[in-house]
Structure formats: C-alpha cells, structure tokens
Symmetry: C2
Subunit: 249 residues, 2 copies
DNA sequence: CAGTGGTCTAGACCACTAT
DNA sequence: TAGTGGTCTAGACCACTGT
C-alpha cells in the first residue's frame, strides 16, 4: 500500500503517529461543524476506506473522543456526536446535599427574568467578545430543589445567535437544546471557572439567604463552532446546599 | 486453547469481558498493595503468560489504569505504579492568579505548627474513622506565592501510621513522599470536597486578609492500602488568589 | 545488543439493532 | 438478514533505554 498524496488527513500532522493524525482530522470536522451534535458518524469501515487507514486505527481515534465525551457509541447503531448537556457541568462533580432520607430531591427551573438589552454592558461585551453596541439577550433563572432555591443562573447571549429564544419556554435545564431548536446553532463546548464569594443583596433575595453569606460563583463561557462565544453565564450557589467533590488521582 | 480453571484472574468476574477481568485483577493488586507506588509492573509478555491472555488484552487493561493516572508507562523502561503527587490536586484544576507579567511565581511552603495530640478531637476522630483515644499528629502549613500567603493546610494523621514524621523537615509540598520515606506507608488515593466559606479570625490572620472575606475550603481524605485513612486535611484558600477552572465536556 | 513499550494491520467471532 | 460496534488474538515493525 502506498502513501496517498491526496490524503484527506489534515495537513501539518505528517510527523505524528497515524492514529493521532486521524484524531486531529476528526477534531477538525467537529470544530468546523461538519459533524454536528446529534449526527451519526460514518461507520468504521467507511472511515477506514475514506482515509486509507485500518479500522483498528479509526477505532482508536474514535475511542479517544469517546473518552473526552465528544462522541458516544451505541452497539448495533453507530457513533454519534454528543450533545453537551447541563449534566456535563455541575452534576458531574457537584453533589447537592441529599435530604434527610438520603433520597435525591426533584429539581425545578423557574424563569426570573428575560430581556433583550439594546446595548451590551461593558463587562458582558468583554466576556462575549462583542462590541458594546451589540444587542444581547439576558435570561435569569433559578434552580429549586424540593422547593428551595439552590442557585441562580444569569445568562447573556449575543442576540443574533439566539434570536427568537426569548419567545420560548425556558423552564428547562436543557437550554442548549432549546437554542438548537430555535436557531439551529449548536453549543459545542464550554469552560467554567469557580470562585468563592459573598452573597450580594440581589443574590441573597433570590436565594432566600442573608446578604454576606458565603456563595459559590461559577462563570461559564460556552462556544459554538469555530470558537465563537454563544453564552456567558454566572451561576451563584448556596454553599450550604451544594459542594464540589472529586477523587484523585 | 482451553479455559484455565486455576486462572489467576480474580473470582466473581467470570461473566465480564476478558479485558475487564484483567483490569479488576490489576486493581485488586494495587488495592492490596502487592503493587506499591513506585514499583515496576511485570512486562506485558510476563503478564500475558501469567494470566493466559494475549498481550493486546493486557495492554488494554493497563492503558485504562494509565488513563486513570494509576499507572505510568515509560517507553523502553517499563510500567510503574504512580506516586500520588500534590500536583494531582489543586494544580490540576486550579489556576493561581498569574502575576502582572503573566509569569507563574515561585512557591514556598512554611510550617506553622506541628504537634502530637494525645487525644483526637471529636471531629477529627470522626473524619479519620478512629477512636477519640487515638494519638494524632497535627501539622499546619502555609503556601506562599511570591512571598504572599495563598492558602493554609491543616493535616491530621493517625500517629501510628506516620510515627516519626514530626521529626522531619516538612518544608516541602510532597508530604506523601515524606510519609513514605519516614514510615514506609504509601498514600494510594484521596478524595476532595470543596465549599465556599467565610474566613475565621484564625484563617484571616494566617492568610493576611480580613475576617469575613470569602475563602475556598477544601476537605481532603487520603487513603493507604485497603482503604485505611491516613490523612484528613483542610485547605483554606484566598478566593481572590486562586480559582478553579474546567473545560467541558 | 536485548528488552521495553508504541504503532499498525488483518481478521475471526460475538452481541445488539434494525427491517 | 445485514449492518453496527465490542472483544480478542497474532504478529510485524519501530523507537527508546539500558548494558
């Protein structure tokens, strides 16, 4: 078998092992949105033929993406691009304090406010990477567990990317699915940062605690294809009601 | 090739795929301390012969452990049981605020106090899972960056597991290596929990901040072989100096 | 040099999912 | 029944590490 000069493996990776070149090729397709969340990938055999690589090597690259959570596979069905879920964030690491009986309580989302801002506040413009003259959608929501407020979500989105979303029922913790349905734009990945803080009077009012109590503050930036920012969100959580847990190594 | 009834794969896994049975077997050896941190594993071929399984299957099981960080492999040398490092905790997710120049600053550990408690305080006894009559070593340390206090570490250890450690130079962020050298006991894994809190007067004094400021509080439980608890630690960090960062999915 | 892990292939067999 | 991914094997070749 000879080296294919017209290889569809992406350029600039010639010195890498084959399975990494394949992996980079797949990453590129995800990044460009050629493979979108929910899509089924070509089968191993098809990819193997297309790229001129053994199916074992294809499998290896795909399994890396499965490890990262970008792809999920279902036996007998196929491989699919993962939809990022709210599950991916808090629920992966955070354990909400369980009730006295040890059961996990039912959750509820309540919308506290929706508004279209004709101009982006300075901070928001910076975080979203847009001009101050950009129209922005602001959504404020509340997460309740067993009827008690646990945390608040305040989201800012460039209006042109989510136009129409404000007329949707946002009482759901699957915001990104709603965005997808309303606008066709997919959220591909997100980054979060966590700090400790003290509840502002507004936080306190929404959460039903005293101002000055400690809260956990999470800042999230969510991206569509090509690294465009589609949402900037602040989560403020009662520290007595949820905490973060991890296992090492 | 026939099924070996005297297989050295651990019992109770007969219905699993082979590579998972091998994985469980390896986990068991790590758990029991048959393979200790720093040890070199038998080679793939040796394991393949010993368990009567192809080397590809052995490799697959080992790679899972590499993924988890339990094993590290060095080409041309061998596979080794990982030593848990301080790196594994904070440094993996936390980004300390970089200095104005963007460089990362040098760190320094200062010992703020060492004492052997003849009795375990109630809370400590609970966290360590020992009787209140148990002798406990308490070590309090301070992490400085660029001369500024960033966080405090307060550790409690059952004295019988770390006897002699109090006569060591603890000015190092590799506590577990010191324990290993002083006593031969290995720290195998740890769990951490994070909350927001408000600085107590003691915290504030050590960190050089005002009482009432928000702090991040991390509680850590570290284990030796057989799930015995060897350390319980509280870390208190200035929230303005470090924050937690993660990428999804 | 011999021995280690790292890459890559080819192919057999299985279990699950659709139609 | 045809097609998917899941498991398992066997073996070739390579790069790196020690002596």
């Amino acid at each position: 078998m000879y080296m294919d000069e017209n290889s569809r493996l992406i350029a600039g990776t010639e010195s890498m092992p084959l399975y990494l070149r394949v992996l980079e090729t797949f990453r590129d397709r995800l990044f460009r949105g050629i493979w979108k969340p929910g899509d089924m990938l070509p089968t191993e055999n098809e990819l193997s033929e297309e790229l001129g690589v053994s199916s074992g090597t294809i499998r290896r690259a795909i399994l890396s993406l499965v490890q990262e959570g970008q792809i999920s596979r279902r036996p007998g069905k196929g491989s699919f691009v993962t939809r990022i879920s709210s599950q991916a964030s808090l629920a992966r690491f955070f354990r909400f304090r369980e009730s006295d009986t040890g059961e996990s309580s039912p959750t509820e989302i309540r919308v506290a406010g929706i508004s279209v801002l004709p101009e982006a506040p300075k901070m928001v413009a910076e975080k979203l990477g847009v001009r101050r003259t950009t129209k922005v959608l602001k959504v404020q929501r509340l997460l309740l567990m067993a009827g008690k407020s646990v945390c608040t979500y305040t989201s800012y989105m460039p209006y042109n990317l989510v136009a129409g979303l404000e007329n949707t029922d946002l009482t759901s913790n699957r915001l990104y699915l709603l965005i997808e349905e309303a606008t066709g734009n997919h959220v591909v990945r997100a980054e979060e940062m966590l700090r400790a803080n003290i509840a502002t009077p507004e936080d306190a009012a929404l959460l039903g605690i005293d101002a000055g109590m400690p809260v956990i503050l999470i800042e999230r930036t969510a991206y569509t294809h090509n690294d465009k920012i589609i949402e900037w969100r602040q989560t403020v959580g009662r520290s007595d009601e949820f905490s973060y847990k991890i296992r090492l190594p």
